[in-house]
Amino acid sequence: MKAFTFPQVLTDRSFHYCPGCHHGIAHRLLAEVLEELGVQERAYGVASIGCACFLYYYFDVDICEAPHGRACAAATGAKRARPELVVFTYQGDGDFAAIGLTESLHAAARGERITAIMINNTVYGMTGGQLSPTTLPGQRTTTTPEGRDPRVYGYPLKVAEILAGFPGVAFCARVAVNTPKRVREAKEALRKAFLAQIENRGFGYVEFLSACPVNWKLDAVRAAEKVNELTETFPLGVFRDEV
C-alpha cells in the first residue's frame, strides 16, 4: 500500500490561497512530479502574476518572477541560456491567455522546451474576480455584473485546442482536480508535460480547470462540483501527445 506524505519539494510554509482553492492541489501535484522525475536540482520555475505570485514561498527550487503575462518569454530566455535546466511556468488564465497570449502562443509555436501550467479558474482571482478570456457566457464577474455577454465579449478562448494545432507542442492536455480520479489523471498529464521537455520533444502544456470558491461565491464543495459545468465548455482530455 502506498503512503501519502508531504512532498519534499514543498517548503513548509502554509499556502495563502483561500479555503478550497484548487491552486493548492495543483501545487502539490507539481511538487510530486518534480520529485518523482528527480529534477528538483535543475528545476527553474517562473512565477507569474496572479494568485500564485508567491510560488517561491512554496517550492524549494529556483524561481524567478516575470511581469504579468511574460512568463513564457522569461522561461524561453532561461531555457535557451541554460538548456540543462528543467524550466516551467505556472500561470493563471489571465496571465497566460489574456495579457500574455502572444508570448504563450509564440513559445508554444517555437516548440520551446519548457512546460507551461495554466490554472484556468475563469476569472482574475488575484484582483478580485473580474472577467477573464475563459469566463463562461452568462457568468457574472465584477466587470460583467450582468454576466458575460457573448455579443460584447465573444466566447471563451479555448487555449488547449489552439495549442493542439501547433507542431511545436509535444504535449497538451486539459485536466481538472475536482475528483480523486481526475487528480490522478492530472498528475500523469503533468508528468508527460515535463517529459516533453526532458526528452527534448517540444513544448509541454497542462491546463487545470480550477475552482475559485471565493470569486465564484460558492463553498469549497460546491465550487468543486461546478468544475463539472466548466468541462462542457472546456472538455478534458489530452489534445496532443508526442511524448
Partner: protein, 69 residues
C-alpha cells in the same frame, strides 16, 4: 504490514474547507470547532477506525494538511 491510516499532519495548514470530508468514502473526517492560528476551523478525525488508507482525502486536500501513513 499494518493498514495505513490518515493523520492530520499539519493542522496549522488546514482551512476547514471540507473537501476531504466531502470526498472521504468512509466518512472518517469532519471539520471541528477548534480554530487554528490562521483562524480557520480545523479538520478532525472522527472515525479513525473506518479509515481504509485510500488516500482520497490526501488527494483532494488543497492545503496538504493530511498524510496517510
Amino acid at each position: 504490514m499494518a493498514r495505513l491510516k490518515v493523520r492530520v499532519a499539519f493542522p496549522e495548514r488546514c482551512k476547514g474547507c471540507g473537501l476531504c470530508v466531502h470526498f472521504c468514502p468512509k466518512k472518517v473526517l469532519s471539520v471541528g470547532n477548534q480554530r487554528n492560528l490562521q483562524g480557520y476551523k480545523v479538520v478532525e478525525i472522527v472515525s479513525p477506525d473506518k479509515c481504509t488508507g485510500c488516500g482520497v482525502c490526501y488527494l483532494m486536500c488543497p492545503d496538504v494538511v493530511l498524510e496517510v501513513v
